[in-house]
């Protein structure tokens, strides 16, 4: 497959000895965090977890549209505040109200 050089061009290697390698400028995006910028700046309120009330049901993790809740190996959760947009779904769905939304 195509390789990427320093200037985000894609080099398609030659198929055989008669053809040349191709330099392409495809509008290809590569997977990375923060494709929409630092989305924590969108946030008005931030979710805060009370670990004592948490029953490790991981409903917040399953319902987070953003994948900003990290599920640890023991099913406790941690929020990635770099990208959390503060929608509040986790706080709304938490069965024990262990997640609170507090002003930034």
């Amino acid at each position: 497959m195509a390789d990427k050089d320093e200037s985000s061009n894609y080099i398609v290697p030659a198929a055989d000895s008669k053809s040349k390698a191709l330099l392409l400028r495809y509008p290809i995006s590569l997977p990375d965090f923060g494709s929409g910028g630092k989305t924590n700046q969108w946030r008005l309120q931030m979710p805060v977890i009370d670990q004592d009330k948490c029953i490790k049901c991981i409903i917040c993790w399953a319902d987070c549209p953003e994948a900003t809740i990290h599920r640890k190996s023991d099913d406790s959760v941690e929020i990635n505040y770099d990208y959390c947009k503060g929608c509040g779904i986790c706080a709304n769905e938490c069965p024990t109200k262990a997640i609170r939304m507090v002003d930034e």
């Binding site: 990375d32 965090f33 494709s35 929409g36 399953a62 990635n80």
Partner: protein
Amino acid sequence: MESPERGQLGTSGSASQADEHMIIKDIPKEEKWLPGNAACPGCGLSLGLRLMAKAIEHPVVVMPASCGSVVQGGWPKSSASFPLLNIAMAAAGSAASGVSEALEALGKKGTVVAWAGDGGTADIGLQALSGAAERGENIIFVMYDNEAYMNTGIQRSSSTPHGAWTTTTPEGKREFKKEVAHIMMAHNLEYMATASVAFPTDFIEKLRKAEAHKGTKFIQLFSPCPPGWRIDYSKSIEVGKLAVQAGVWILYEYENGKVSISPISRPYLDAKKRRPLKDYLSLQGRFANVDEREATEIEKSVVEKWRFLSRFM
């Protein structure tokens, strides 16, 4: 809420199905839909894509113009860490057919998922989808249904429900929602299902079931949109649950010419067990103009939909 929707329900109605249903802890941990994407806070589509990438091991996604093409974010970054092809709005069915054939010809692994909005399915992409379904192309077509053209600024689509406000129906839509799932049932698909982002385990199970079938598979995914439905960002899952509990959105599967209501929706076969429709409507600003008479009309359409499905059970 302690209801079967969270996957605690142990048994299923049909003896041929596995007795155990997936529970939340069975959802794979790996995140292939990355944080920091350009979706609005509380976006149902974003959650849908995240769950799809969890359910299918090697997804190859074909995405027509929709909110889905926007939420990936700006070049040179993309929030999708799986192959994703952005194509023209009418072409989801045909482009997915081509990708599926190419993968087969090259002998490469991958499950082709066409991920289109309700505009790209019910209105603009219907012809290409119908063509792909008739040819029996090996694709999973997911229609994420946020019930309007949200990406361009909330214009009505044929999938917008009766009474809903959009910028092109300021007094509420007069017509009723087009039932794309019923149209796809008429194509005699191997597998067809409806799902909701509010029930992750159910959606993942259905995707995996679809992956196991050959031919064209269709899943209509209920996907709440906070800005378009005039709800608080935190309420998108709650609205999704309410839609099912009120019987407005019915979770079912269509296999071998038979409809089977999914375990989550099964209690609501009995109209008395459904939540009042008012609960569902009053939560959403888009239904603010719905009066008593219109609410009865919507109620009637819900009853009619259940009756229609019961003919195939």
